[in-house]
Symmetry: C2
């Protein structure tokens, strides 16, 4: 399979590339420091990337920013960061990417545990993750030509505990290598409309 991984330089992205490159042709893209560059908040940038690659068997997004901060002081502009970056960025990848996929291809997005297991300072992240999960369930009804869509929803990464551990006290962390297996399941399996929780 020919697989495009967007967000390939991140902790999850690197693990996904490593897992899939053993068996497939993997194209790595990211905002910086990657073979191919793309800004998921810019529709033209996504189109240019997809045009440069042509037909694909799988499209993977492991990227997206969100604002973390206290609800009492959260502004609409802070809330919009996640809406326009992680949420709309991944949705645009799906909306545009569906037309570049071969029959029976797949799209796999990334949400996160905060959709249903919230933390303090994480209201925006929860909203974004919940939106991506519900979007995937709905999009699966409409994709044509046997194209599938799923989302991987991991707990906090073991690799990120030094940075984010204090916000996720008591959460079981998961190593990126386990998260990568959920992407393999989505791409190399047959299910659609699924939220793969990696807990």
């Amino acid at each position: 399979m020919k697989i495009l991984v967007i967000g390939a330089t991140g902790t999850i992205g690197r693990a996904v590339v490593e897992e899939l490159a053993q068996r497939h042709e993997v194209i790595a893209a990211a905002k910086s420091k990657a073979e191919l560059l793309v800004d998921i908040t810019d529709e033209r940038s996504i189109r240019a990337l997809l045009d440069s690659i042509g037909k694909l068997d799988a499209l993977v997004a492991t990227t997206g920013n969100v604002h973390f901060g206290p609800l009492a002081r959260m502004t609409a502009d802070e809330f919009k960061i996640g809406l326009h970056d992680k949420l709309l960025g991944q949705v645009q990848l799906a909306l545009l990417g569906q037309h570049y996929l071969n029959d029976r291809g797949s799209i796999t997005l990334t949400s996160g545990i905060l959709s249903h297991d919230p933390i303090v300072n994480g209201a925006s992240a929860s909203a974004v993750n919940g939106a991506i999960e519900s979007f995937v369930k709905a999009a699966a009804l409409e994709l044509q030509r046997g194209i599938r869509i799923n989302v991987v929803s991991p707990s906090v990464l073991t690799e990120s505990l030094t940075t984010y551990g204090e916000f996720f006290r008591g959460f079981e962390s998961v190593p990126a290598v386990r998260v990568a297996r959920a992407f393999s399941k989505s791409i190399e399996g047959g299910q659609t409309g699924q939220v793969y929780r990696v807990l």
Copy 2:
């Protein structure tokens, strides 16, 4: 209690006003044709409304637009309609409104069944409803002074079947009067962080 209902002219809003006005002081606001006017996509409009009213015991939002249409042709701009209107509009009401509520006050938002039970043409609505439900679960952790937040997630309204029935074949509809009781439960009960599904 002094209760502000935003979206008071809609089918749900009217039923909520009728239910609550039996026991409380209800202030009705909407985009048009209401006692008080407000545009939930405009932060200044929300602030002006809240400033004109002063302290409240409950803030209710029963409003918000979303785009319905086929995934194969959906554009980012169409997807953004729901993000900026129903989602960010209701979130802004909560973010701003929290500071106008009396101790032990409440915020009640509106999502909808499509968050978890999707339909064709409804990918954007699913995303928006999923976001609102996850936002509420997270926001409940942080609200101060005993302020609570819940969301009412109704099935298609019986009153709307003539317009929307063909998109919701096989769904059990619910009359607005039943949906209104879930708002009463949120406002007059003690729970927080809940998604009240009215199915």
